[in-house]
């Protein structure tokens, strides 16, 4: 293992670190104990700082020429950090002790992931497909190819030929520019992000309950809560420093009660007071039973419900039959455990509830996430320190994709069904309202790919994402991307599996090589400065977009250029103007302020000059019919409510309590496929490993795919640790060595990170070869956590499975020894 200089974990310092003390080789530390040493604190106390850092071998901290402030880009937590620069190269990172998010801590992906920036296989020049091969070309040729095809299709078919599929990993300025290009330049309704796969349900659940997106809670609620309710949220591996904060509360005086819903044995579940290891795909049944129990034992804060919500009666009726005994049969957990969870929730006020992919990527995603909101509403646990809701994000800048209108919504949480909101945008962009498509909900990603499949979308512009590995049912996705009728533009850092299928590949600069801002899952806005130059001819995504807009010659209604900005800061100012008066109000911010004072939570405006820690502190929702982002949907059919219907339901703009009945998953286990497939992530990798697979320490910690089986299912398949199996679904097969863990019997887990760019051969390593094409009717988020499968023994072990030894994939033997 590399001998890097690393400020020791457990170094506790309230100010900036003393770079002369506390060094040790902690590379090993961050891999074997990603959460580091404990710094316990009491309820309502201040979370102590602890600065983590990693510098490349041979570098001393006193030789670092510049520390460039930014935040983490390999998860959604938004940890404040500095990039170390020496001789115009990135040489390391250190956490920022003054960050409200992480107080100096960093997880393994942040400590090591930055090394990918300097990978020798970065794309340096544009590539264009000639005679079936991708060949290098210059920027002018590349952009003219893109613009030529665009103009041709605009003439032949019009806006409906264009699809834009972006990401949760660019900067705010880029999403906003892309949204304006798409909605007002090309005038297509087909714009979405891969945020559809990670955060669409978070947004939709907030829109269903509060009629508007916007994270109600704050990470600081961890400091104050009496109960932590983690639903399908393996926080230890998705948000390392947030789990460190929770652990520090758990090990301090007056710790919170911990309730965990997860079919896998996770770090949080090992600490839980109640671990509800439900069958994959049954969250809604469980949550309905919890609500049933809260109502049956009258643990409802009736004054709060009466004053601040509508439709409580619908829930009361909807969960009447959902007894713990009924749910126990569906979910496979004892009814006493459900009662115990409800009892804990019912006997405390300061409840912090969180959800992530275990909810969002499962069937009935929105319906289940909404029931978590309902738990807090019934308890009146909202808008107070320690009493809140965190509907999490999966990616670092997903919040901005949502805000900026690049994720199936109009910019700044405007309501596509409200003509007055569209008129505001038209005025801002100096266009006729009729030229901004708003005849229906913006097209979601899965539908864009469906349109491409049927041949009506013929131009697909993909930025910073890798659908050839990350979308469900990959054989289908590869066939769509390879279809000659579809012109595919891919803008990325590397020749990803998706880029290999493209007609045009544009080399992009990334984090640390460009300037911009981004916002984390608790509304904290960070400014991220440029530290080093991008490799070769790579250009920032913003520059590429602005160049495209210029060459396309998009105009406003007076003939002036549609895009009136030309660099990150002017793009930020344009975005601020777009947010004025909206819930995500950025008008009180500036690059100068963000640089000087660091991070700030939105809304930041005249009323909240330093930002607002919690929304809805006075039940002041954004749900007024004239102001709200959404009128809501039927959680089963996805039908949008009509404006008048919403006005009648919620004239005073209160929170909405929505119920939904449990439905069996679309592909239940059965003959030939007796097991439930669950896909997910590890603490050491992000997404399709485009970056983390190129960071040696991370790659070594989780080098290849594995499959997790319970002891019972392993016995049934006659396999043990390290044996190779095929996991087979009706759509394909994945070959992987077995890790036997404490996962609940009947559920099989595959990490989704592994594609083919560094594999021998192809076609049997990506978990999404197996997943089903279906999505939540309300949020349109695809289902990654339920499909029927079976396990077939292929061969014996040559060693243990290449699975990490920490977190949910820790083996049963290791767990017993622990």
């Amino acid at each position: 293992m590399a001998e890097g200089e690393h400020l020791g974990k457990g170094h506790v310092d309230r100010g900036m670190p003393d770079w002369r003390s506390g060094y040790r080789n902690a590379v090993h530390d961050a891999i074997t104990n990603p959460w580091g040493e404990r710094t316990p604190y009491a309820r309502a106390g201040e979370w102590p700082s602890r600065v983590d850092a990693h510098l490349e071998p041979g570098t001393n901290s006193d030789e670092v020429e510049r520390w460039v402030p930014t935040a983490s880009i390999l998860h959604s937590n938004g940890d404040g950090l500095d990039i170390a620069v020496q001789e115009e190269r990135m040489v390391g990172v250190r956490g920022r002790a003054d960050s409200r998010v992480n107080r100096g801590r960093l997880g393994p992906k942040d400590l090591f992931g930055w090394q990918a920036n300097a990978s020798p296989d970065r794309l340096r020049r544009p590539l264009v497909r000639r005679g079936g091969e991708l060949v290098e070309t210059d920027w002018d040729t590349a952009m003219e190819t893109m613009v030529g095809r665009s103009k041709e299709l605009l003439d032949q078919q019009g806006p409906s030929a264009f699809g834009i599929y972006t990401t949760g990993q660019l900067f705010l300025e880029e999403y906003y520019t892309l949204a304006v290009i798409g909605r007002a330049g090309l005038r297509t309704n087909h714009i979405d992000g891969n945020t559809r796969l990670c955060t669409a349900t978070a947004a939709e659940a907030l829109k269903e309950t509060f009629a508007c997106d916007g994270q109600p809670g704050s990470y600081a609620d961890v400091d104050h809560c009496e109960v932590l309710f983690l639903v399908g949220h393996n926080v230890a591996e998705t948000q390392v420093t947030l789990w460190a904060r929770m652990l520090d509360r758990l090990e301090g005086p007056d710790p919170p009660k911990l309730i965990v819903v997860d079919p896998r044995p996770t770090e949080p579940s090992r600490r839980a007071d109640v671990h509800l290891a439900v069958r994959s795909g049954t969250n809604l049944a469980l949550l309905n039973a919890v609500l049933h129990e809260l109502i049956a034992t009258d643990r409802v804060e009736h004054d709060f419900v009466e004053a601040h919500t509508v439709s409580y009666g619908e829930l009361e009726q909807g969960v009447r039959e959902a007894t713990p005994e009924w749910a126990a049969g569906v979910c496979g957990v004892p009814p006493e455990q459900i009662r115990e969870a409800a009892h804990i929730l019912g006997s405390h006020e300061r409840i912090l509830s969180t959800c992530l992919q275990g909810v969002y990527q499962s069937p009935q995603a929105t319906a289940a996430a909404v029931q978590v909101n309902n738990v807090n509403l019934l308890r009146g646990a909202l808008g107070k320190p320690g009493a809140g809701i965190l509907q999490m994000n999966g990616q670092p800048t997903a919040q901005n994709t949502r805000e900026c209108g690049a994720n199936g919504d109009l910019p700044a949480f405007r309501n596509w069904a409200n003509d007055a909101h569209v008129a505001e945008l038209a005025e801002l962009w100096n266009l006729e309202p009729s030229t901004i498509p708003h005849y229906g909900p913006p097209t979601h990603a899965m539908q864009i790919f469906r349109f491409a499949e049927e041949g009506s979308v013929r131009f697909l512009w993909i930025s910073a994402t890798n659908p050839a590995v990350s979308l469900p049912d990959l054989a289908r996705i590869r066939s769509i991307l390879s279809d000659e009728r579809l012109f595919v533009v891919v803008q990325d850092l590397f020749l990803t599996e998706t880029a290999e299928l493209a007609d045009l590949v544009l080399p992009a600069a990334t984090w640390g090589e460009k300037e911009g801002t981004f916002t984390n899952a608790d509304r904290t806005v960070h400014h991220s400065d440029k530290a080093v130059e991008p490799p070769g001819e790579a250009r920032s995504d913003l520059d590429i977009m602005l160049d495209y807009a210029r060459r396309m010659d998009f105009r406003d209604k007076d003939g002036a250029p549609l895009i009136k900005w030309d660099d990150p800061e002017s793009a930020f100012r344009a975005w601020q103007a777009c947010t004025a008066g909206r819930p995500c109000d950025y008008t009180g911010l500036s690059y100068e302020k963000l640089r000087a004072g660091g991070e700030t939570q939105w809304p930041c405006n005249e009323r909240f000059p330093d930002g607002r820690e919690r929304l809805y502190t006075a039940a002041d929702f954004y749900a007024d019919p004239d102001y709200c982002e959404s009128y809501g949907k039927d959680l089963i059919t996805g039908t949008s409510a009509e404006p008048d219907e919403y006005r009648a339901l919620n004239p005073e703009g209160k929170a909405i309590i929505k119920a939904a009945e449990y439905l069996p998953p679309p592909e239940p286990p059965g003959e030939g496929y007796p097991l439930r497939l669950n896909t997910g992530r590890t603490v050491f990798h992000f997404h399709t490993r485009t970056k983390t697979g190129r960071a040696p320490q991370l790659q070594e910690a989780a080098p290849d795919v594995w499959v997790e089986l319970s002891e019972a299912d392993a016995r049934e398949a006659e396999v043990g640790e390290g044996d190779t199996v095929d996991v087979v679904s009706p759509r394909g097969r994945v070959r992987a060595p077995v890790r036997v863990t404490g996962i609940r019997p009947g559920v099989v887990f595959l990490p989704f990170h592994y594609g083919y760019w560094d594999a021998d051969g192809g076609g049997d390593r990506a978990a999404n070869e197996l997943t089903i094409t279906d999505w939540d009717p309300a949020s349109k988020q695809p289902l990654f956590k339920t499909a029927a499968c079976r396990v077939e023994r292929v061969g014996g072990a040559t060693g243990p499975a290449p699975a990490p030894h920490v977190g949910a994939s820790r083996g049963l033997e290791e767990q017993r020894a622990h």
């Binding site: 409906s160 469906r450 499949e453 049927e454 041949g455 039927d634 089963i636 039908t639 439905l663 999505w775």
Partner: protein, 163 residues
């Protein structure tokens, strides 16, 4: 008393709606979310039909439950439809066919909804609270199905006609 007429009309309409949902799902299997959702909505129709059979028995009427068995029709014809729909999944004309099928579904749902309305009126006139509670439980679901067909038409038509 002719409440049996209203029961039979509602029953027939729900059975027809259920069959239409399954047929549409199978014909448009490439629209995979539609395929799965029609299965769910078909399940509602089946439950409605079963409840109507039970209600009708109280009035000495025997309604045929030939189509009301839960689950998808896996007959040869259905499978042929599914294969055919996979084959045409890469062509654009299916969008126009889908619009046609959604219109038929909408009309079937409207017919069923109207039948429930009439049945509810009848149930009130004969002061049959059990029957009325069956209507109250089932009719809203039929209305949701009907509204979904409108939503789907709104979603499908822009691309179908503009491309």
């Amino acid at each position: 008393m002719k409440i049996d007429v209203a029961l039979r009309e509602t029953f027939d309409a729900e059975v027809e709606l259920g069959a239409g949902l399954s047929r549409t799902g199978e014909r448009h299997k490439a629209e995979q979310d539609l395929f799965h959702l029609t299965h769910t909505l078909r399940g509602w129709c089946d439950v409605h039909a079963q409840r109507l059979v039970a209600e009708a028995q109280r009035f000495g009427v025997d309604l045929e439950v030939e189509s009301a068995s839960p689950g998808r029709d896996q007959g040869l014809v259905a499978q042929t439809h599914e294969k055919g729909s996979e084959f045409v999944g890469q062509r654009a004309e299916p969008a126009l066919l889908l619009l046609r099928d959604l219109r038929e579904l909408h009309l079937a749902a409207a017919r069923a909804s109207l039948a429930w309305t009439a049945l509810a009126q009848g149930a009130q006139a004969i002061s049959d609270s059990d029957l009325l509670s069956t209507v109250s439980a089932c009719h809203p679901e039929t209305v949701r199905t009907m509204r979904w067909t409108v939503q789907r038409v709104k979603d499908v038509s822009p691309q179908a006609f503009a491309s």
